[in-house]
Each structure stands twice: as C-alpha cells, then as structure tokens.
Amino acid sequence: MTGSFSAVEEDPSQSKLVADRYLKRELLGEGTYGVVFKAIDTKSGKTVAIKRIRLGKHKEGVNFTALREIKLLKELKDPNIIELIDAFPYKGNLHLVFEFMESDLEAVIRDRNIVLSPGDIKSYLQMTLKGLAYCHKKWVLHRDMKPNNLLIAADGQLKLADFGLARIFGSPDRRFTHQVFARWYRAPELLFGTKQYGPGVDVWAAGCIFAELLLRRPFLQGSSDIDQLGKIFAAFGTPKPFQWPEMVYLPDYVEYQYVSPPSLRSLFPMASDDALDLISKMFTYDPKARISTQQALEHRYFSSIPAPTKPALLPRPPPKGESLNEKPLDLNLECGPVVLSPPRKLRRVTVNHVGFEGDTHNNTVRGDVNDKAPRGVAESGLSGLMPMSIDLEAVFGYTAAPRPKLNSVDRSHLKRKLDLEPEFK
C-alpha cells in the first residue's frame, strides 16, 4: 500500500467528517480492491462500512471490478442484497458506502458454539435463494456465491455481497469466462470449461451452501479442478450422457471412470425428505434441467414444517469486535410475539438445549438470547433444536482444510479475462 492516508493511522477521536457526512471509525479489513473501514453516517445515524477503492495500477482509472460492483448494485435493491448507500470521491480515491454487516454465513457455519436447527438452516437458505432469485430476475449472475460472501445484518437478514465477479447475462450468445467461483462452489459445467452458462451456476453454488449448512463443513473440497469433479461424481455418481447430453461436447470434458452414487440419505443422514429432494434438484447435472431459484423457493421444503426461523431469531456469532453486553436490549420488542407454547415448556426446552450443548461457556450467550427471545423454539418444538448433523470438528477433532479462495493462477487468469488489466508488463 502506498496510500498516503490510511484508516489505521488516524486517531478516531479526531472525529473528522469524511465527505461532510461520515464519521470514520476503525479499520475493518482489506477487501477485494481496497481497505474497508467502519463509519457512522451522520445523516442517518447508521453504522456503515466504507470501502476505499485503490486506483487501478498502470493508469487505468477506477478499478474495473469496483466499477462492475457499482454498476450492478445501483440496479439491485432488495432486502437480501447488500445496499450500496452512497459513493463519493475523496482525496483522489473513490469510496463506496455499504450498510454495515455484523457477520457472515461462514462465521456462522464455523462457530462450534452455534447449533443450527432445521428451521434455522431453512431460513438461511431461503434468504440466500431470495437474494439470488432477485438477481436472476434482473438478469444478473452473481458468480461468486460462497458462505463468506453472504453477509448477515444486525437484524439477522442475510444479504448477498461482493458483486465484483457478477455480470449481466442479457445477450444470449455472449461467451463468459469459466474461471469464476471459488472451486468448491463451481458447477460441473464450469469445471468442464463451458463458456455459455446461465443462472444454474449460482444454483449449484447455493446447493453447496445448503449442504455446508447441513454438514457444517464445506461439502465438496476438491484440491484441483480435476479433483473437484472427482468429488462431485463421488457424491452424485458419474453422469451418464442421457442425464446430461451436452456434457461430452464441453471444451474441457474428460471421461471419468463410472462410479454409482451413494444414497443421498447416507450423505445427509439428518436431513428431511423434502430437504433431500431439493438438494437433488439443485445438484442436477444438466444445467438446463437444474431447478431455478424461483422454483427452489416454491419447493415444498419451504412450506413444510418446521417453518423457516425468523431472521431476527437466528443464531449468529457475536459481532466482531463488540462485547455481548452491547447487544441491543430491545431484542424481544423487535422480534414480536413468537412464543406459541406455555412458558413452562419453553424453560424446559432451554435447559435441555444447554444440556445438549454440554458447553457451559455458552450458557450466558445462549441463555441470554433464549430468555429474551426464544428463537424459533416454540415454533418448531423440541425437534427444532436438534442439530441436522454431527459436528465433525467437535466430535472427531476433524479440522477442515483451509478454504480456498481464487488461487493466484485463477486470479491472474481472471484479471486477464475479466479486467483486461495489464497485470504483467
């Protein structure tokens, strides 16, 4: 970084207004194309996250990825998509103002102290699909769906973020790069090198996220593109031409040894029949036959019991950098009347729940939340508290392999393909 001013260097007590409007707070981290810091919007009183966009190297102006994100987010306004509140130039850099998000889905999935009930999982998946369906209705492909791009707001709403790889898929014959998505979330048609693809790639990734919510670990952790396909075929069987006629014509098609699929039930032992049915439809090999986001939302999984947990009642990790005591005290007011069973039963449920967790460190957190707002407990009854599957990490000391982002090869490839930035002189 060669920037002359940086968020860390500045004393927050100086409380200087940025762009006559924002009160700058601490540095939050390094984003895809610049630093992100927290700020207070003096106009609305809300906490926001401001991304400072690095100017493109080699004199290419506003970063291409950032520009793409601006372009699309200005068109996308939905409760399940991150809101771009404002944009402004300041000291020669472009700044983007987003609503501040407390956490992300990856943090939820990874947090061993969190138990996700079937209703919770349903709720997270529903919000993911709602955001996606909105994008697809607007002819926008996200192309980078993964848990850590699904942010969680203070009110529990899940929102799609990071549209730096997204694009409009209006023209029917446009060819796109297949080097999109982190590998574990890549659909088979992309791994086989297709250049013409559609919303199905996002649906596949959403399926991976669904599976990850159930398993509490990334579902298909391939170590290379070839290995990724191997993992996919091991889970769902090697596709036969009648299942996916175009497969053999794809640019990077290679033949795999035939393996027959294990039963879905064996992969997701705790999932309901409806959940399994939806999974099988989201992981359909032929992109043309794969379920659409809208159809997925209308799937009976979402109308059968348990009902999706209300966003405000979803379990989530403590917000970064804040102590739990600072949580808003009017939590129960926001949540409204959700208790449907007698308080006596509720208390018993709460106790059971803590007992089940067997983790006393948690009691304060959980108890706290449960006292004020019994999250979905009453709605779904006891079964709502059962975990969908065993937490492998906790039980077997299993540790997940580090989550791959786009690797450097992908990245430079992408740069060339998408940004057309002269990365290498």
Binding site: E60, G61, F64, L67, W139, G170
Partner: protein, 263 residues
Amino acid sequence: MAANFWTSSHYKQLVEQDKIDVVHPIDKERGLTLEEFKLIKIHMTNHIWRLAQHVKVRQRVIATAVTYFRRVYTRKSLTEYDPRLVTPTCLYLASKAEESTVQARLLVFYIKKMCSDEKYRCEIKDILEMEMKLLEALDYYLVVFHPYRPLLQLLQDAGMTDLTHISWGLVNDTYKMDLILIHPPYMIALACIYIASVLKDKETTAWFEELRVDMNVVKNIAIEILDFYDFYRVEAFKGMAESFKGISDEKINAALHKLTPKP
C-alpha cells in the same frame, strides 16, 4: 435485459424533452443559445462515433457513451465540463461498463492522430480525473438500455428482417438527438421500424395494432426523427454516415469559443 427495463434505473431516469432543452445557467451567461447547445451535442456525438471507430468497440459501447454524454449535460454545464474531454472519457467509462475495456492511452493516441485542433488533445491523467467527475455527475448509474436488441426482436416478430439495415441506421442516428433520455428504447425501435416501413412501402398497420402500443407516441417519435433530418437539411436515408456534413466547423468552434474562460 429487455425483461427488466421497467425496474431499471434507466427507466426511472427518463425525462421530458423540456427538461433537456435547457441551457445551463453558467453557459447561458456566456451567451450560448439553445441551438448552439444542440449543435455542440450533435458534433460531439459524431466525435465519439469517429473516435470509437479508431479504437474498435461494439456499437453498444458507443451508444452507451453517447447516452452518458447526453445525461451529463442535463445536469452540468459545458463550461465546467469541457465536452472535448468529456467525450473520450464517456467512451472510456462506457467501454468499462460494457465489459470491453479500451485503454485510456489508446484514446489519447487516436485523438492526437484524429484532431488537428489542439483543444481536443488530452493526457491520460485528464481522462482519469474526468472519469471520477463523470461517475459523480451520472450519480453512479451506469446500466443503459438500447433500442438495438428490441429492434432485432421486433423485426423478427414482424417478419420484416429485410428492414434491418435501414432501421438499424435510423437507430444509430437517433443518438444525435436526446431520444434515449426521453423514451423507452423499444419505443425508439418501433419508431425506426415505422419510418423504415413507410419508406419501403410495407404494410404494417395490422402488426402495430397487435402490439398494443400507443401508436400516437410511436408516430410522434417518428416525426421528431424526420424533423431532425429535415432541420439539418440532410438528405435523409442516403449515406447516413455522411449525414452531418451540414454543420460547419466554424459554427461549432464559434459556439465552443464562447465557453472558453476569458483571460
């Protein structure tokens, strides 16, 4: 894309003609007339088109650049935003927004090659600075819809694909006017089809009736287009690329000169 025009920022930003035909107070103070304002916009549209032919971009990119250009001047003055710098920057920004980036240095190079007038020349850093100002002037709205795709679909539907060439040319010429800021793109496409069909003696009444669009609006747009050709005494439909020889360089330069700050 056509499916979601009605929820787009483009649709929400459509304005009335009388909001566009306003000379910015700062420009007015310097004596710029409405006619000169329009002339400059036509001239600069041609400038974008010529420059784009050198750097070889799709017509869609050019159309987006012209739309940005025209949108900017519904809000900003020619005095503060020198059109000679705004034009290449619009093309630069449009090329990025339409996912076919043109490097700023190429634009700088071709402007030098194309224009003998030094006032048109600029450096890379000028374009990059203006890019930021343009983004702000456009309120960061970058997605623009164009009549091209609806045009092809409608011609297909009407079974009049033989009119593609002429109506496509008409659509290109509409960017010399402000229609793209006023009407939904498919209405512009329909007006161009209407003109083309009348010109080629095609019977289209039944087809237009089936579409259930407001024919009055279509006809009004068509008349505006014809008036425009008329106004600039152009031999319409013959060699459209050569259409605008009518505007003399002196006239443009005189208008632009008014805007130059006096020392």
